[in-house]
Symmetry: C2
Subunit: 191 residues, 2 copies
DNA sequence: TTGACAATCTAGCGACGCTAGAATATATTG
DNA sequence: CAATATATTCTAGCGTCGCTAGATTGTCAA
């Protein structure tokens, strides 16, 4: 019975198109332009069809965010070069994190600002959400006793830098200075 | 001509009532419940009246945020006790900051997450916005060469801790541990 | 061929921010 | 005091949103 399988495939494909459209529109015009009507037009189906794929609009944002967590984790892992010193690793991951945040502002917003219905720090936390944390923990571990807490704090600092700069609260020109400072602060922990 | 002055007073009073209503509703039910219709009902005037006080809804959020910056600055200043050691001062200000963020989540959201139309890091930045930064700079200065950059980084760390914890990304039970870590990191700068 | 079931669409509900233009109150002038 | 000009405020409604009930269409099994 290949028919039902073809249908399942088509459904999956349609869902991918919804998420891709949401992501594309968000990056180009902001999340306010990502409306159910607009997405329906994009995939050439009526609006109620979207609700057979996602419970509500937030869930669509969540699907985009989930992709984002996977991509952020990949970028952080790529920043971990075995030849680097521990301090360079911290700086590299910090820089990669902020590069991601500023290169994909709408994606970052979906991941950390908008309501998404995603669950964190729980047993059912998806893999994508854990991997980014893992990459940060890797570079923080050499400097810390309590790796989890130190990684949470490191992550918070990066997130704060991204958000405050994005909202115009701190000076964009001094981003590199602040990263250097973060690196110094982290490396100061082990002394 | 006391009449026009009475009118001006009444207008000002009405504006205060709008901002107070917005703030109260936001803290009780979230910013999504702060609608123009709801505020109009609250002050017992029709909706268009609100637009004679504020350009749009964002500006109302901004007015609430501005109050918040004043109150945050006051709390941070209150945390600076002359008898404390430099390290205790950092810890005290950090704790006060997070206490504020968690005690008034809607206010904090208005100040740092929602669009408000407020200007930052510019010549026309209102006093309230500068004072909080000043209080943080005061406790960071003893540990830093470049006080502004170090304060921006300290602030970012606090903001990140507030946001990530609020969104369930990091463990609430370890808040104090993270503050201790921040303190250690800051004090490690001067060595 | 018919009837059951699933997939999809049309149409619309209630709520939103915001505004044009009417109505009302207040001040100014003849 | 009456008439006019000027603020002030209101009624009514536009276009948009997320979301859904119920009609309609398509697809299978009996």
């Amino acid at each position: 019975m290949g028919i039902s399988e073809r249908k399942a495939r088509e459904r999956e494909e349609r869902e991918r198109r919804i998420v891709l459209a949401a992501r594309t529109i968000a990056e180009r015009e902001g999340w306010a332009s990502v409306t159910i009507r607009r997405l329906a037009e994009e995939i050439e189906f009526s609006q109620p069809v979207l609700y057979s794929h996602f419970q509500n609009r937030d869930a669509i944002v969540g699907a985009v965010a989930l992709e984002g967590f996977g991509e952020l984790a990949a970028m952080l892992r790529a920043a971990i070069q075995p030849s680097s010193t521990p301090k360079e690793l911290v700086e590299g991951v910090a820089t990669a994190y902020l590069d991601f945040a500023f290169a994909r502002p709408a994606m970052y917003e979906a991941m950390f600002v908008l309501p998404t219905g995603l669950r964190f720090a729980r047993s059912d936390t998806p893999t994508q959400l854990r991997e980014g944390f893992g990459a940060m923990a890797t570079v923080i571990a050499p400097f810390s006793q309590d790796v989890d807490t130190a990684t949470e704090t490191f992550w918070a600092a990066l997130h704060g830098l991204a958000q405050l700069e994005r909202h115009g609260r701190i000076r964009p020109a001094f981003r590199a200075h602040r990263i250097t400072l973060i690196m110094q602060m982290v490396s100061g922990l082990s002394r």
